[in-house]
Symmetry: C2
Subunit: 428 residues, 2 copies
């Protein structure tokens, strides 16, 4: 029987990295449904940006291999079983989270073309077209680049050297579980799809957390793994919504209103634990100060940049000012987390709010120091850079994560009343 497997494997042209359209973050699908309803024809451009320029992706990764992987992603379509899972499952306790009309559209989707150029030691990889289609390239594009870079490093290693590499990485992940398992009332989810070491590795890490953390591990943002391992799919919404809404704004007043319009649209579709505010796109402080009262009624807030303690304290003060009880509110931390930071934040806030953690890169790609630094995670993103021909802007609570043309950044800062910000190193 090994013969059959071996012969079957002979026939592979490539070992595909992304093998399913739902090997993506749950919130991409939620946002996609929202975008398809509210902005089905908006033209956008997504672009891959390697913030860690010291990692020379174009020297490490063969262009032909990269094209083969991206071409393979374009052959994918939703399988019957995947469709059944999305239609039949409950998400956040709700049936039919995805409407029949969205599902029909999704079942017929193939991802649109990509544009790939080599510029120096980096790749320029962009996607243009209708927002609901283009946006679904983000996660597979990142996963392909991340894993090809891993493979480039692993290629020259011996069999036992490889086994021990993974032994070390497994030990490290398990030690993290052991360090976290005794935090009372911990709630933690895997948010590590986009910068994972590889698909199989993410799948391993998630299963290790299921065994190691038990009830404290509430699920994964990866839909395929959630489906295969019978876990909760986790996620709400991301910066791309306010960024595109803002780029589409006709004038400064519309710009100032755009981030709230995003959430007004969102509120029409979602309730409960899906009503999570992501306030930092144009500065958390101003966003909350100018927010309409109905937003204070939402379930919680996601703190994704800047000083995480300050971000949570700002939210708590804001809820108190608006007459809400913070103890009933959820605070989800999701920026550069690892064991120490999770432990510290849990200690500071577990008694004051409902704390939860979206643990990303340092869960699914902590290979720091294991092959020198050739496998260390790096800061690769794939962002909406333009909508209907206008550049998007992100300010964030950390200027190191800001993006957009200089004059537009200046204008956004004025409109959103963002003053001086402290630069913080982007961990991953």
């Amino acid at each position: 029987m090994d013969i059959a497997t071996r012969v079957y494997n002979h026939q592979w042209k490539i070992d595909p990295i992304v093998r399913s359209l739902i090997d993506t973050d749950f919130y991409k699908l939620l946002m996609c449904q929202s975008v398809l309803r509210n902005h089905p024809t908006t033209q956008v451009t997504f672009s891959l940006i390697n913030r860690t320029t010291e990692v020379p992706l174009a020297r490490l990764i063969d262009e032909g291999e990269l094209r083969e992987q991206l071409d393979h992603v374009r052959t994918l379509s939703l399988t019957r079983g995947e469709s059944t899972w999305m239609r039949g499952n409950t998400f956040y306790g709700k049936r039919q989270m995805f409407t029949p009309s969205f599902m029909e559209w999704f079942e017929n989707l193939r991802l649109p073309p990509y544009h790939l150029d080599r510029v120096g030691d980096q790749y320029e990889l962009t996607f243009e077209g209708a927002w609901p289609e283009v946006m679904l390239w983000e996660i597979p594009a990142l996963a392909v680049l991340m894993e090809l870079r891993s493979r480039a490093t692993l290629r020259d290693m011996g069999r036992f050297e490889l086994e021990v590499l993974y032994a070390r990485a497994m030990t490290r992940v398990w030690d993290k579980a052991l360090a976290l398992r005794d935090l009372p009332g911990l709630k933690l989810a895997d948010f590590g799809t986009r910068r994972r070491h590889s698909f199989l590795w993410q799948d391993w890490c998630v299963q290790a957390m299921v065994e190691g953390l038990g009830e404290a591990f509430v699920g994964t943002s990866n839909c395929l793994i959630a489906k295969n391992r019978d876990l909760e799919a986790i996620g709400t919404n991301a910066h791309e919504l306010p960024m595109v809404y803002a780029a589409l704004a006709k004038d400064d007043d519309a710009l100032a209103a755009a981030p709230y319009q995003v959430l007004a649209d969102w509120q029409e579709e979602h309730s409960g634990n899906l009503r999570i505010i992501l306030p930092d796109t144009y500065g958390t402080e101003g966003f909350l100060a100018n927010a309409p009262d109905w937003l204070a009624g939402w379930t919680g807030i996601r703190v994704d940049s800047g000083d995480l303690v300050e971000g949570a304290e700002t939210a708590i003060r804001w809820w108190q000012e608006r007459g809400e009880d913070p103890r009933e509110k959820m605070v989800i931390f999701s920026d550069g987390l690892d064991v120490d930071e999770i432990t510290r934040l849990h200690g500071l806030f577990a008694d004051r709010v409902r704390v939860s953690f979206g643990w990303g890169t340092l869960l699914t790609n902590d290979f720091r120091g294991l092959a020198g630094d050739d496998l260390a995670p790096f800061s690769l993103v794939c962002k909406a850079v333009a909508a209907e021909g206008k550049s998007t802007v992100k300010l964030s609570d950390n200027p190191a994560k800001a993006m957009g043309p200089e004059d537009e950044v200046k204008r956004y800062k004025r409109v959103f009343g963002v003053g001086d910000q402290r630069v913080r190193e982007v961990v991953v």
Copy 2:
């Protein structure tokens, strides 16, 4: 095809620990051939002794399971492929190391009955009968006990907990290889069969050393692994020869001569690197002082107890006194070795003699601290305790390893001129 494997596995009554008569140390087979030639009908008793009485084997290991494993060993006979390997292979550069008459005997061998009793928290496990048959129980009996104890500890662990346990152990073994790989001219062999964590684990450790140490790893004492992995089988002779020869001695003069008679018999069969003296059975110093001159012409010496540096220095002095050049002599260290000790001894002696290492328990069973101490190796031996009704005696260079009835120990000390000895902790 997974179905067939699964269904095939359904049919196992047990998962056998020892699956081959050559899953044993090479020197047992060499000694067996010698014994079959010189003492084919000598009646001996071998007995299992747990020197680490804190490990309550009879509480950890179910008697029924132990019997099943031992019964399974008794069903084994030499396979055609194993016989072919023993007949056709070169060992230490020599063809037909095993004579046709020995091979014919071995092909027809089944291991003799065993006697098992529970005494308190320990098992009393003994084997009685003709020396060449009984002696082959030693390694399988130890391997069965060691691995059943491992299984008892592993039984309650989760799947990922298990995977991480082995990940940690693999990392540890690999780190040992990394620490040793740069020692110039290192020669090291696996001697870890008897106290291995499990067969599969020993097999993994050996393969990891092949990749990690390259030329420095010269082979394994385990014949089955040597055969399967196409490695050199390593080993010469052990204490059981002088112990039984000594027990058979009619008077004090014969006793004093017995250890040399062993080597005289050995010399008739073996040359070159198989002429290795094991001098410590009744004290190294006296053994060498009283040795006949022809012994100084042998290839080397194995230092297996006491202060290893002192043992090697004694040998070097002895060779010099007998007009031999120590730089042409081999010194094999084989007692309680681990990375630091190997590095230290290599540093002290590599320029002065041909150093070699027989690395045992801490290569194939270093699980110290990985499941508390429930998997830590312990000092289990299986020794010839009587021959033709007379107790055997071992003095060793470490009184903690001595054995035999008190009055006989006293007599041996007198005959071999052994004075005060320093007690050293038995590592494993």
